[in-house]
């Protein structure tokens, strides 16, 4: 086996660069497409991070003029759109693409060509979005990149208020990446339903696979209305439609419903894969099987269902009826129950375990506490009367960055370090990894803990400047200082990946002594994943293999 691996990894370096590039562009291999998704997302992470930094520099003190109001508005629109659609989603899909077939003992996704098509549609979406900087200037003075905010409420997107083509590039970008997302979601579901190896019943799938299955279902349900709304917007802007034009009998609120019935399930689309990473990493680094597997699966499905019925908590301030408000308050609070179950189960997995604090585990432990806080501020925002006070303030911004950065991004970093040895065949540098954890941890807390305070003091989001003397100045300064630590953390992360890929130690097939199938094949895996399709009898097939005297299948 080992000589075979060396032959495969040595072979590509002897081929000309153009040929190797051609192989990557035309690939239908799920692992290569997964890596393409991930690299693509990382380059957009740099862009989105630069946009965030520009915003924070502008807000470092009142009446700052680092950028113009117009540029600031483009920055927050591009930052939000980039981070959600071209960083978080491709990262999630990249890992799902790479890991799901390996973990269920399959040789590829169910539809490899659809997989490639979906990736390139998503990639095209990102190019559309950033091409707006050059092509958005449809008329003199019309501006360049979109500046309508990432949820692009009507009537700002109407032709009257958004001249030129910036909004059109935004629409094209979301439509295109939406087609890619739906394609990949169908592929993930079909793969999990049809390609599981012998013995792997639904109840024996790794939790990561379960969570990605529910995630894919949510993508289909959530992205479709968003794409429909984009088409309606095109009709409004170019074909004389009035879907969102209040003055002609349309409804601006309908856009909000369409957007948020995408937008809130989207949070779960992103957080379920993050939970998936935690559910694989925490057991391995606690040296215990996951606590309460069936309940974890049930909680996941419950989050999927309840997650589809909470969207209008983004709209408490628009004056819905008392009945609607009550429903969305209760459904939003209800989702804290399955999420809480998960947190308790992860803690119970760690409880009494032999915990190894390697980089992936450090990120997961930070995630547990940060996600708890994010969930609790979420419950405060679910209380409609409090939301009337805090809605659209920096408290909301702090809350959802706590979810997306403190929860989702921390888990994604954990996943990077955990599966990097499998994807590259090389071990990352543990000291640099730990440095990344601490820099990012300090930066995250400086930025997002203190961001809650100006929100409570009344600072609205999306303002390019503010008056001194409102008590917001010092908090904004601290928030901006935190950005420097996060940026340093990202640089260490990128440096670690590049250096380890080029110079790192060989990782071996199973550096973590883990239990799921992907660790039974070579690192990196061959194109066909498994020479012989494995057969499994429990949720931890590699445990059974390593401990024939005490296999899991006796107890499951």
């Amino acid at each position: 086996m080992s000589t075979h691996t060396i032959a495969l990894t040595d072979l590509p370096t002897t081929r000309p660069l153009t040929l190797r590039l051609h192989e990557w562009v035309t690939t239908v291999d799920h692992k290569r497409l997964g890596i393409l998704y991930i690299l693509y997302a990382l380059s957009f992470l740099a862009l989105g991070g630069i946009e965030a930094t520009i915003m924070r520099l502008q807000l470092i003190r009142p009446h700052n003029d680092f950028v113009s109001p117009e540029v600031f508005n483009r920055m927050f629109t591009m930052h939000g759109t980039t981070m959600i659609f071209f960083v978080a989603m491709p990262l999630v899909f990249g890992f799902a693409n790479y890991l799901v077939p390996l973990m269920i003992g399959a040789r590829d996704m169910a539809f490899p060509r659809l997989n490639a098509f979906s990736f390139w549609m998503s990639a095209l979406g990102g190019l559309f979005l950033y091409f707006s900087f050059f092509g958005g200037n449809g008329l003199y003075g019309a501006g360049s990149a979109p500046d309508v905010g990432w949820f692009a409420y009507a009537p700002l997107t109407a032709k009257t208020f958004s001249i030129g083509h910036s909004t059109d590039f935004w629409t094209l970008s979301l439509l295109s990446s939406g087609i890619g997302s739906i394609g990949t979601a169908i592929n993930i579901i079909a793969t999990i339903m049809c390609l599981r190896c012998p013995g792997m019943t639904l109840g024996k799938m790794p939790l990561l696979v379960w969570l990605n299955l529910v995630m894919a279902g949510l993508v289909i349900l959530a992205v479709s209305p968003l794409s429909a709304a984009q088409l309606m917007l095109v009709v409004d802007r170019y074909l004389g439609g009035h879907f969102f034009d209040t003055q002609a009998g349309g409804s601006a609120v309908i856009w909000m419903h369409f957007f948020w019935i995408f937008g809130h399930p989207e949070v779960y689309v992103l957080v379920l894969p993050a939970f998936a990473f935690a559910s694989e990493i925490i057991p391995v680094f606690s040296r215990k099987a996951i606590f309460g597997y069936p309940v974890m699966v049930l909680a996941t499905v419950a989050i999927g269902f309840i997650g589809m019925s909470v969207w209008a908590h983004h709209m408490f301030t628009i004056g819905m009826s008392a009945g609607a408000n009550t429903f969305f308050v209760l459904s939003t609070m209800a989702i804290a129950v399955p999420t809480g179950i998960k947190i308790f189960n992860w803690l119970a997995t760690m409880w009494g375990g032999k915990i190894r604090y390697a980089t992936p585990m450090l990120f997961c432990v930070a995630f547990l506490f940060q996600f708890l806080v994010a969930g609790l501020t979420g419950v405060t925002l679910a209380v409609a009367p409090l939301d009337w006070q805090l809605g659209n303030s920096y408290y909301v911004v702090a809350h959802f960055h706590y979810v997306i950065v403190g929860g989702i991004l921390f888990c994604i970093f954990a996943a990077f370090y955990y599966w990097f040895p499998k994807m590259s065949g090389k071990m990352y540098d543990e000291a640099l990894g730990t440095l990344h954890v601490w820099l990012f941890f300090i930066g995250f807390h400086l930025t997002f803990d203190f961001m809650h305070i100006p929100g409570i003091l009344g600072m609205p989001r999306r303002i390019y400047t503010y008056e001194p003397g409102r008590g917001w100045d010092i908090w904004n300064l601290i928030v901006t200082v935190g950005v420097a630590f996060q940026a340093a953390g990202i640089l260490v992360f990128a440096g670690n990946l590049v250096w380890s890929y080029l110079r790192g130690k060989t990782a071996g097939n199973d550096p973590w002594d883990a239990w799921t199938l992907e660790w039974s094949t070579s690192s990196p895996p061959q194109e066909y994943n498994y020479a012989v399709i494995p057969t499994v009898r429990s949720r931890r097939p590699l445990w059974d293999l390593k401990h024939p005297e005490d296999p899991d299948w006796r107890y499951e």
Binding site: P69, G149, L156, F161, N392, G458, R462, Y464, Y466
Partner: protein, 142 residues
């Protein structure tokens, strides 16, 4: 909307829903007054200014100002912009973006974007002389 205030004084607010380039400067000032003070304010607001024939008023009424602004008792009856009948009774102009002083008022008329970028009020391109006259006229709207 119903607000039940417990103490008198000035309360600051701000536009919470992103509304375009001018969003950061859409400020709110809510004055809570005792019933007597409030009645006095209502009475003052119901008065109409004495129509005069100042140079500033002529400029105001002969340009596009009147398309958007109302000064009751005069031909100016536009509805898109704020009612200017009692402009001088306010502490700030441009939705709180600047204090209501003769200097800022003149700058606002001359170049609204200098005070509030993205404002829908156009720069009317008035001569310095006309600017002074219109500012002086607005200063009489008490």
């Amino acid at each position: 909307m119903w607000i039940d205030p417990h103490e008198t004084g000035l309360f600051l607010g701000q536009c919470a829903q992103y509304c375009g380039t001018q969003h950061a400067k859409m400020l709110l000032r809510v004055y809570v007054q005792s019933p007597d003070e409030f009645q006095r304010w209502v009475h003052e607001q119901q008065q109409s200014p004495q129509p005069g024939l100042s140079a500033g008023e002529r400029v105001f009424e002969s340009t596009a100002c009147v398309n958007c602004h109302t000064v009751s008792g005069t031909p100016a009856n536009g509805k898109f912009g704020p009612d200017l009948t009692h402009l001088m009774s306010r502490d700030t102009i441009a939705a709180g973006a600047a204090p209501n002083t003769p200097e800022t008022l003149r700058l606002w008329i001359k170049n609204p974007d200098a005070i509030k970028p993205g404002s829908k009020m156009p720069n009317m391109g008035l001569s310095d002389q006309d600017l002074d006259a219109v500012t002086a006229y607005l200063e009489t709207l008490r």
